[in-house]
Symmetry: C2
Subunit: 427 residues, 2 copies
Amino acid sequence: MEKKPLQSYSAAELSALLKETRQAYDAFQAKQLKLNMARGKPGPEQLDLTMPLLNALPADADPISESGDDCRNYGLLSGITEAKKLFADILGAKPEEMFIGGNSSLELMFACLQIAYVKGIAGCKPWSQQGEVKFLCPVPGYDRHFALTEYFGVEMINIPTDENGPDMALVKQYAEHDESVKGIWCIPVYGNPTGIVYSDDTVRAFAALKPAAKDFRIFWDNAYCIHHITKTPKKPLTINAACEETGNTGIFYQFVSTSKVTFPGAGVAAMNSARANLDELEKHLGIQTIGFDKMNMLRHVRFFGNAENMRAHMEKHREVLAPKFQIVLDMLESEIAPLEIAKWTKPEGGYFVSFDAMKGTAKRIVQLCKEGGVTLTGAGATYPYKNDPDDSNIRIAPTYPVPAELTQAMELFCICVKLAALEQLTK
Amino acid sequence: MEKKPLQSYSAAELSALLKETRQAYDAFQAKQLKLNMARGKPGPEQLDLTMPLLNALPADADPISESGDDCRNYGLLSGITEAKKLFADILGAKPEEMFIGGNSSLELMFACLQIAYVKGIAGCKPWSQQGEVKFLCPVPGYDRHFALTEYFGVEMINIPTDENGPDMALVKQYAEHDESVKGIWCIPVYGNPTGIVYSDDTVRAFAALKPAAKDFRIFWDNAYCIHHITKTPKKPLTINAACEETGNTGIFYQFVSTSKVTFPGAGVAAMNSARANLDELEKHLGIQTIGFDKMNMLRHVRFFGNAENMRAHMEKHREVLAPKFQIVLDMLESEIAPLEIAKWTKPEGGYFVSFDAMKGTAKRIVQLCKEGGVTLTGAGATYPYKNDPDDSNIRIAPTYPVPAELTQAMELFCICVKLAALEQLTK
């Protein structure tokens, strides 16, 4: 049947297409696939790129840091000097405003929230004693961010996002007029799941915020800052540069990691913030640990040498990932676009494609995919409380499957998108 | 002057000895030493023993765990199977009751407290909503334990310790009759700083506790379980065996790490508890991290192979450490013992000697040592709130300095112990 906007179909045509699509779905189910597109995991071929890292700190290596400290022993809560320089270079930050953590930036974000909740920051009472506490959550967003704020009983407020980033008028309205609003989740470059890059105006608007609450912080999760899938990446304004302009340098906590540069389980996470913020956090972090793994920091620094080499390493990831994203986008373009029942992002980096299905069909699509042998991120996961008011958004994670499997998975996905739409239209 | 009990000295003799001791102190100060005996850090020669670990997971290694999981990628929150087996073997626990963490057991203890404080455990309200919450603290004990409970505003109660462990009648009294008592800090083997090993009766008394609070847990920090400095180590009853006997298997969280087996900054920490406890903790831990460093777990497992080899590795540490402890004990025996102004422990393992000076002189001794060029753990640090009611206990940490420096440091220490006592007696 010719592909055209679904809304132009007659009842008879819809019925015929539903039948045809059901048959295609049944045929797929018979294949008994078992594929997983649920999480933003690198594929094994990406992990192989990093194996030489394991030889970067051998038994005869010098374990002494630039600062003269023995990386094998206790000490240096904030990490080793050379790792601070490397990550500062990546972020456009100052080395003295870096804190190097363990293998997980999520863990650092959790620590920041926990400190505000248990002890309080910036002279404010602990959140646990402040009554209602709120956080702004640009949607669609990252489920693990939302899980962190939910853990501490923080009320989450949806903020719509467009191609330039969050709705900054709304962010300003909340942040500057409601003292119970304590922060906002941001993924400024290649958002999870949208893939969008905040415009310079958006970054400037963040840097110009004058929050009502002294303990308001922008949680600037720069997880994908060097994760380009084009050869000509954009160079967005950094939060550091923007805040230097406004003098609002204490407003953000910035996070980054090598989880998707080297190994997701065994990378290095880092944090960047004004010195006064880090001083306050370190006072508390020094209670919960004596320090993070400095040998793994040293291993990473010895492997990369400098930020330029780390960026070059990301080129290899791009070569693996770009074709996978192309498979997803090509398939959506040929199978779904003509029907005009959905829209999706066309990211230039990151790990996801954000797909907006016909309203009210996302859960059904995910269920159909699951029963057809492909696990997707749960519908709703991209919203606080797993509650997508439109039941529309689905996060597509194309990175883990090999291309042949991804093609199959996307074939099934497109069938399910159509099937769910047709079921709804013929109800 | 002949060495004899200080209390048998005449006023004139005391005065003469004070003068002589001051001269010795002044002579020492002139040397302008700069030594540090503050923390329980392994020395560089111990760290060198572990350098081959760095080749145990090279670039051509198979990164796949026994379970078939890729250790380079996300997943396996509770750690890899082979690490669970290794640590279970060390502790006399079941592999399925192990949780493998990051580089810090302190971080795991913090997480357990944080979960009880923020979310509540065992169906109880979060501690943050329970009003007064208390913890039992055998003294002298580990300053970082006390800092953890203090962080969460937990009231700490001193429990006296003798050569068999904490005063179990008192522990029982508090734990079984006060619902606000939520736990107790224990270092069952080679206590920090006492070096004592809990007697089997003490372990049995712990296993027989029937706490008033459902969210009471014994924090069993087995940091030094294989850190012997004699060739014929005791084989104390394990908490697991004792709790199997009583059926009280859910009462403890046990902690262990390789911080002082391999590298303090880059080892592996683990936790052991009843499955139901771990299930509850993992539900919360899975919010704050996707998982810990499985490559470092794998590196450790590949390096050691099994628990027997890990114990053999500890023999090498013993060879380095036993002579250092001997220096401390010999010096105290010859310089201080005859004066009968102090007592101290003679540990068979661990990292410390616990020294009880003449009451009211510990702070003065630490100050004198500092001004003489030797930094000790702060007086009072071994008590909650850094408050030693007798101002008597000092933690001696002989592991980091090389023997020649340790000898010098102990010479100064003995001079300062005498000087402080003489100052007090001649006041």
